[in-house]
Symmetry: C2
């Protein structure tokens, strides 16, 4: 009986995910298939790879060894896929972009439309998420990220510098204009965030009333009048029902980057999308700064 490479891949995912069901989900197969492939791999290798316990499959040392080398194989596969993608000169077929939802909705949409009309044969897939997808593993071909730099392994193009400022509903804006010393409710992003020093000095009656882990929810809360938020200029300007309030002067914020893996970067489709996005944002540069 001889060893199937796909069975090694299956062992790898089972070691990574711990249960037949989740490994199967990752592989796109039923969990029974995972169990059967593992059994086949055990027969082929002559080694017990997992202990079948009540709460799941527990990998043996041999399984960890298999997983280690199968991981290397997967890296080779990833590299192959990147190289194939990178030398692809066709302007057709799938192309995957990832970006935060709010950037897509309020910034990137026009560029995507321009691109889609210019290249009707490209099947553009947009993964809208704040998760940093792994471009090394080709979870996406290009990514738009808000960060200080593009990172070590990725190639990056700075699309725009941006400022942040304070925004709130018209209600709140009126109240602040009326009585600058009145108590101010802030809605801040992420659990451990603090108020900017400037705010603490000039508006000592400020307090953090809500902490949100999601920028979309936070924006909605601000629109609903729950309080004042600090957010990028483009976002405050784009959202209905929000106006800038003078609590926090415009401050430099993280830049917007277009990033990609250097192997994939030269592909025709990636180059075309890159240029479409870059041209569009260059024309609207003023949207992002005060």
């Amino acid at each position: 009986m001889n060893l199937h490479w796909d069975d090694l891949k299956t062992v790898l995912e089972l070691v990574r995910h711990g249960s037949l069901a989740s490994a199967g989900a990752q592989l796109g197969v039923n969990y029974t298939t995972v169990a059967r492939r593992v059994a086949r791999a055990e027969a082929a290798l002559g080694e017990v790879l997992f202990e079948r316990l009540a709460d799941g499959y527990q990998p043996t040392e041999a399984a960890l060894l298999v997983a280690r080398h199968a991981g290397e194989m997967q890296q080779s596969e990833d590299t192959l896929l990147r190289h194939l993608a990178g030398r692809d000169e066709r302007l057709s077929g799938p192309l995957t972009l990832t970006a935060p939802q709010l950037l897509i909705a309020h910034v990137l949409a026009p560029a995507l439309q321009t691109f889609a009309e210019a290249h009707p044969n490209v099947d553009l897939r947009v993964k809208a998420t704040n998760d940093l997808l792994d471009l090394t593993r080709r979870e996406a071909d290009l990514g738009v990220r808000v960060s200080r730099d593009p990172g070590d392994t990725l190639t990056g193009l700075r699309l725009a510098a941006q400022d942040s400022a304070s925004f709130a509903s018209a209600d709140w804006a009126a109240r602040i204009a009326e009585d600058p010393t009145a108590p101010i409710d802030w809605i801040v992003y992420e659990a451990h965030a603090t108020l900017p020093k400037h705010v603490l000095q000039t508006s000592p009656s400020s307090r953090i009333r809500y902490r949100f882990d999601d920028m979309i929810a936070l924006a909605g809360a601000a629109q609903a009048g729950l309080g004042v938020v600090r957010m990028p200029m483009f976002l405050g300007r784009s959202l209905d029902g929000l106006v800038q309030v003078p609590l926090l002067p415009p401050t430099p914020y993280m830049d917007i980057w277009l990033v990609g893996h250097p192997d994939v970067w030269p592909s025709a489709k990636v180059t075309a999308l890159r240029q479409a996005i870059r041209a569009d944002l260059k024309a609207r540069r003023a949207l992002f700064v005060a």
Copy 2:
């Protein structure tokens, strides 16, 4: 449609072997299966991997790229298999030894018998060939080789130093004893071999009458009385119908080595076989030298 690792392996073997049939033979599947897997890989990658020409499948650049990375994957697989074998402490299951036919027949057989009796659960497989099997790819676990050194990547244990001398049938031996100046027919090994200088000086009437590319055939020819041969001491002594003749004094010959890959070397089965062979040959050390 998603990519099967086994299809990458299939593309690799097709690139290496050039035809569906030989790739299929290598993989142990029908050639139609190779054709279908290649078609599947092409669909999954969105790339044409081979041009179907009248005289076979011609790989495209993309196929060469696939093959390169699939080769890396195969190396990972080989390394995995070696590591698994190396940490195997069981004295059961398959164990493969490779050695030249004549060494097995006339030297190793007793040691193998001892080993087999001591370890009845080991399934000992002997690959008798002069080809140097690839121990890195686990074509064998241990090899016995006649050479100057074990090579760079393999671990080696010198089993015996040996001499060579001249041998011939009883007929020839009598003729030489009778008239040392009579013409002597030599049978030499390999195409470009020449007679030793010592022979040219002391027996100027010597001439090369036959050149053989196979030591077994050569030994048989000597037994049949076709002429005089130079061969290792152990072999001349072991073959019926051959006696040593004084044309060529015993001369140091290449050593006999037991070699293995360092990853596999510590395995229990390999260690046991190694010790059996080493002990046996140590006891019969005199067989190899004058």
